[in-house]
Amino acid sequence: MTRLPETTQKKLGLVIDLDTCVGCHACVTACKGWNTENYGVPLSDTGAYGSEPVGTFLNRIHSYEVEPTGGGCSQTVHFPKSCLHCEDAPCVTVCPTGASYKRSEDGIVLVNEDACIGCGLCAWACPYGARELDLAAGVMKKCTLCVDRIYNENLPEEDRVPACVRTCPAGARHFGDFADPESNVSKLTAERGGIDLMPEQGTKPVNKYLPPRPKDQMKDMDVLTPLIEPVCEEPKGFLAWLDKRLEAL
């Protein structure tokens, strides 16, 4: 049903820490690996070994360079992007078939692939590029928040988090319930000033992004530094011998 729930009991989502993400793409691989063999049809690749490989992914890492306004070194920011499970999800309301829906119990936005006609309108409606039509199956794919892991009692407890969160070597992705002010994600968002992407689109994303801290500044150098006596003049002993040998080469 493409009518959005007025409220959801939980607001499950991710916090993505732009300060710690190292841009290794491990979450991209883990996401593709888990989701290609679980929820729905596989995430297909076309021409994987050809000159123009194209594939379906639910999570992608952009990298940006930011030039600070006040001058100084520019900063590289790795930027993971998957579905933000928006509260006012425009991708859901445009769907003609009811294939796209937002769950009232936990707020996860999903696609029922058996009902999807592959019109692509939901991908047009998403500002964030979080939906990709699978070219082989002709149905819409998107992040499921690993709905088949987080409630899965067949998995050991520590694995009941999204694949991307579980795999991130830098601890840059956190999973939790934003409806609970005491949850890890709510606290992180409050402490670090988590933000919404493209807030002017009015989608009210659940996922939050923690801004990178500004780069450290180099301490001013003492004006007398160039006048300091060198600590070591000429090498002696073994080093002197090595120096000579190398010179002779």
Binding site: P96, L121, W124, M140, P211
Partner: protein
Amino acid sequence: MHPAPSVIIFTVLSGLGFGLLTFLGLGLPEATGWAAFFYFAAGFALAVGGLLAATFHLGNPQRALKAFTQWQTSWLSREAWLSTAALIVLGVYAFAAVFFNASITLLGWLGAFLSLATVVATAMIYAQLKTVPRWNHWLTPLHLLTISLAGGAMLAQQTGAAAVLLLFAGAVQIFHWVLGDRRFEERGHTIETATGLGDRGKARLFEPPHTGSNYLLKEMAFVVGRKHAQKLRLISFVAMIVLPLVIVVLLPMNPFTAVIATLFYLAGAFASRWLFFAEAQHVVSLYYGASGSNPPYQPSLSR
């Protein structure tokens, strides 16, 4: 946005078809017998042909009936209902007109109203998208509606209506182009708001997430050169508005001139609709480094 031929053909042909059916439903001209047969055959062929072309755009067309379920929220679903209702109502009206020489006026009006509503619903599919600022405006339904009615008036050989509607459609087209050019910037979407990095400085794309292409780039990061677009606008305007207007105003209206005028109109309308998609910039292009006049990342395929 990627100008997919199936969607361009669909919106132009079914727009023209429902434009013609609107006039036929209003009894302009009030045709019966064979004349009615040819008029309605043209209207239905265009409308249905366009709708069929649209299904080529779907990944799983065999489930198309499911698109009728979500009329409460989805314009695409409403379009499915309205177009079907229009075709059924006018089918009955046409049957009576062709075989019983009878015009059931109220049924015709209802059919005309449903035809108009279908064109508006189609336009709303695009106009509702906040992600495509150029489309997200009330001028978009007005644009598609006036184009479709102007074409319909020509095929229905309504000289006066055709002339007035062509002028109106031309004016709306120009506004849609000129105001549309500014809309993306007016909305204030930038790479800085997209990434949330704006408070620390100027951001640019350092590396795209993938070396090849993907669905998003193919579907939503289409770029057309500005000069190229200006030329095409001119060609489209002359073919779609100016030439048909000259024919409608200066030559006597008969089926032959009506068809010639409509052919010019169709050529121009296809160009206009191509531009409608090609010039529309989706906000996702910001994540791929689009800014101002800079195009988004496109993989270089020459290796």
